[in-house]
């Protein structure tokens, strides 16, 4: 066990975690050069395409160090996006050390700090690494100084690497061996193993990713899940190298997996402790708090008859993504669907894309909402996550919305534009700090509803891409909120309603109607659109009936091509949702999100 090192790689998004993992796998011979592909641990199609890590992954490597000894290195790659922060905290609990990667062209950013603090809270040894030194705009000296300042390690002791080109990567391996302490477990004590992640395999059932704290697991042991008090015989135990490889036993300090054969992830929860049924421990290990969904939206099948398929698809997605929650919901306009909870907007987009691509579903996603607390005149408190559920204003004493602590790091020259952006979105400034020369860290409090959409894009565009942000929940606070309602073709469309600040209702209602008029295509008949709030009509518009939609020419030579055009047009139409007799495109349901001035 003296020769085991368990570590994870943490960083701000895109600083090169997965790329460094590639090099480590290659240099240790875990993956042959021939089998190497970029960001090999990002195995989901969507991860590969977007170039981001969504799900943490673990892998075991063997490394012969300069001291002549062979070490077992267990690496966990983590996602950098703030929506998936909880994946990072889980990975941390399985490790003794963390590689903190900083991009030499970007310097310290918001998630660099956020993830660093998480790692320090978990008592991990931090090994800083400066990456991307091959780029002409790299400033490794400055970044080294900033890190020295932040961590108290000498600037010249920090490895400066290019994960892409492989430069100085062996320094990282040596630093891991020399700086990260070996695990402290005892293989002779009763078994305690922490489940830090899981995925679903159609043959082996739920595969739990585990870190053994004490004791050992043999492949024929009978195991107990402490939260559910259920016993199981593992289908298989093994390690990731980097694909699943069965082994006969796993010992204290090891990172590996147990194929449980269980059919639902809820039977085998991430954060739970596994022990031996014959010789159990008494108290489970401290787990994690389950990630709480922050953003909610309705997902509806475009065709009503696909409801069951959608349900099945969500069930399957949840097998691999326990942070996705959903429950059936009925909408007047969209009929039967599901109210889903997500960690953030990025998470929501990923779920939507996976439904469309992996499950071939045509879905309508309604505008995301946060969760509100509604205090009724009776004193009763309702928790709602959909504008539809907001009761009649006359019965409400107060509506409270979630507020966040927002952390922005930006070059000082963008101080003004950042301040302006945040205050325009009802944010309140609280404090500032200077983590590095020419960099300011601004801390605000802001309603979550104001940052879930577009905020980050705006921040990026105002700071030419230099600012980064992080946020965390502080609590609920009362606000003056009202429901903005929409009628299309004379029928109320509940899925287009949204909750807005009273002072903005008028303005947003007008913008919404204008937007909808642009987005709703002309139909066979005139379609009236109107918005109202607190019983008052704010704005109306009319989408005039379509008069001309015909291919002027179609002769012998054109048939195949014209048929394709028609099929394409038909598919576009099919993706729209019939509400009453009006066809509404998916984008219209998102229109409520972008009501800022252009």
């Amino acid at each position: 066990m003296e020769n085991i090192r368990n570590f994870c790689i943490i960083a701000h998004i895109d600083h090169g975690k997965s790329t460094l993992a590639d090099r480590l796998l290659q240099m240790t011979g875990t993956v042959s050069d021939r089998d190497m592909v970029a960001q090999i641990l990002d195995s989901m199609d969507l991860e590969r395409e977007k170039g981001v890590t969504i799900k943490a992954s673990a892998v075991r490597m063997l490394y012969k160090a300069k001291d002549g000894l062979e070490y077992e290195l267990n690496l966990i790659d983590t996602p950098g996006h703030v929506d998936f922060n909880y994946e990072v905290s889980r990975a941390l609990a399985a490790c003794e050390g963390a590689l903190l990667i900083v991009d030499a062209t970007q310097g310290i950013e918001a998630q660099t700090l956020a993830n660093l603090y998480l790692a320090l809270d978990a008592d991990l040894v931090i090994v800083p690494v400066i990456n991307k030194i091959d780029l002409p705009s790299a400033l490794p000296d400055e970044v080294a100084k900033d890190l020295e300042h932040l961590l108290g390690v000498p600037a010249d002791s920090i490895p400066r690497i290019s994960a892409k080109e492989g430069t100085n990567v062996e320094q990282v391996l040596e630093a891991i061996v020399s700086q990260v302490p070996p695990p402290r477990g005892d293989a002779d004590l009763p078994l305690s193993a922490l489940i830090f992640d899981s995925h679903y395999d159609s043959y082996k059932g739920v595969v739990a990713y585990i870190r053994i704290m004490d004791g050992k697991i043999r492949s024929n042991d009978s195991l107990r899940l402490m939260a559910t008090r259920s016993d199981l015989k593992p289908v298989e135990i093994g390690i990731f190298s980097p694909t699943m490889r069965p082994v006969d036993q796993l010992l204290a300090g090891d990172v590996g997996y147990i194929a449980t054969g269980l059919k639902t992830v809820s039977e085998c929860r991430v954060g739970d402790t596994i022990t031996n049924s014959q010789n159990p421990i008494r108290e489970p290990l401290p787990g994690y708090r389950h990630p709480k969904p922050m953003v909610f939206a309705g997902i509806y099948p475009v065709e009503g008859e696909d409801y069951d398929d959608l349900k099945e698809a969500l069930e399957k997605l949840q097998l691999n993504d326990a942070s996705l929650v959903y429950q059936p919901e009925t909408s007047q306009a969209l009929n039967f669907g599901f109210r889903c909870g997500f960690l953030g907007l990025f998470h929501m987009e990923i779920i939507q894309e996976r439904l469309e691509r992996e499950y071939d579903m045509d879905v309508v996603v309604t505008a995301p909402s946060v969760e509100y607390e509604v205090v009724m005149l009776t004193g009763e408190i309702l928790v709602i996550d959909s504008p539809v559920e907001l009761p009649d204003e006359a019965l409400i004493q107060e509506v409270r919305e979630p507020w966040m602590k927002l952390d922005i790091i930006t070059p000082t020259e963008f101080y003004g534009p950042v301040m302006e952006l945040v205050t325009r979105r009802r944010g309140v400034y609280t404090q500032q700090d200077y983590p590095a020369p020419n960099r300011v860290q601004l801390i605000f409090e802001i309603p979550l509803a104001e940052i879930i959409v577009d905020f980050f894009d705006e921040l990026k565009s105002r700071t030419r891409g230099y600012a980064s942000m992080d946020y965390s929940f502080i609590g609920y606070r009362p606000s003056n909120l009202v429901k903005l309602e929409v009628m299309v073709g004379g029928e109320p469309v509940d899925a287009l309603a949204c909750i807005v600040h009273k002072e903005e209702a008028y303005h947003k209602g007008q913008r919404l109607v204008t937007k909808l008029k642009e987005l709703i295509p002309r139909q066979l008949y005139d379609v009236a659109i109107q918005a109202s709030a607190s019983g008052r009509i704010i704005s109306r518009a009319n989408v005039k009936a379509m008069r001309k939609d015909v291919l002027a020419k179609c002769y012998g030579g054109d048939i195949t091509r014209k048929k394709k055009l028609l099929e394409k047009q038909k598919r576009g139409k099919r993706r729209m949702k019939m509400v009453g007799s009006v066809e509404i495109p998916q984008e219209a349901f998102m229109a409520v999100l972008r009501l800022e001035d252009e």
Partner: protein, 382 residues
Amino acid sequence: MEAFLPAYVDALCKEIVQVGGDGLPVHTIYFGGGTPSVLSLNQFQKILTTIQNVFQVLPGAEISAEANPGTVTLESLDGMRRIGINRLSIGMQSANPEELVFLGRIHDVYAIQKSVSQARSAGFDHLSLDLIFGLPGQTIRQWQNTVEYTISLQPEHVSFYGLTIEDETPLGKWLKRGLVEAPDPDAGADMYEWAAERLEKAGFRSYEISNWALLDPIRGWMQCRHNMQYWRLQPYFGLGAGAHGYLDGIRTVNASQIGAYIQKMQAGGPQTTPGSSATVELKAISRWEQAEEMMMMGLRMTHEGVDEGEFIDRFGISLEEAFPRQIQKLIQEGLLEWVPMDGRHLRLTRRGWLLGNRVFMEFVGCPPPALFHNHQGSIPVG
């Protein structure tokens, strides 16, 4: 271009011989695509003679040629008429000089008038004029002027097409870069409707979305029989570079580059029936696709629409068995109607003329009904 005309004509004749031969009866021949009027009289003659040798050209067959104003002379028209061409389709486009420039046409309005009168002197008694509307910046006034002028030339047939701008075309690119103004679809609808009424008043009848025929007291409605062959989904040979054919439920496509076409015909490589040595693509159309295409094409015919009896003969089920939901919905929306004619016909309503895509798309990409037998059948060649 002119330089390889002789070789091209040779190749074309070789192709005609390859695919013909059984004395198959034909009732229409169409010289189109590009500017066939660049052919010399001898070349026209050679092609026609070759056709007559290997096919049975029926008496009274319609033999059309496309001609652009300014590319023909009295002499050439006279020759064309003499060797048997009996219908001329003139690419007039517009009677507005600026529009002609915008469309990159080499002719002016005078050339149009001259071509028409020369065609008449040469003895053509079936003339069609092709127009285009919905140009960027075009006013209804300008269009009315073009239509009035067209009627004054007394053609037997008029086609008018709404301009469609496709992304890859130069116009599409200009539009993207904001160099031209996007045509307003409602203005296009106004133009179409105005022209429809005006032509009706002048004795024409719409028989297809973009095609109008005059009633001749002796010859009846002066429809283009060749084009009807396409819309009725009946068989035709496509001969020459880039031509498409449709025979026995198989669609053929020839090499589109003239050079490649000539080369393939000269080499005389293997020939896959019903194609020739120049055929680069052969695609069997399943019976269900044929049924769908019969709707998509047949419903373009604003007067006769789709003949239910014909559909049943071909596919063994009725229209309502094949497309129950679609037909019901479209009738309800006021886009389709049943008319008793010679049997039952399903066609677009007047309102549906300009909303054709809404109708056609309902009939493409549908799963066949359980009743349908999708085995490959053959269609009688007409």
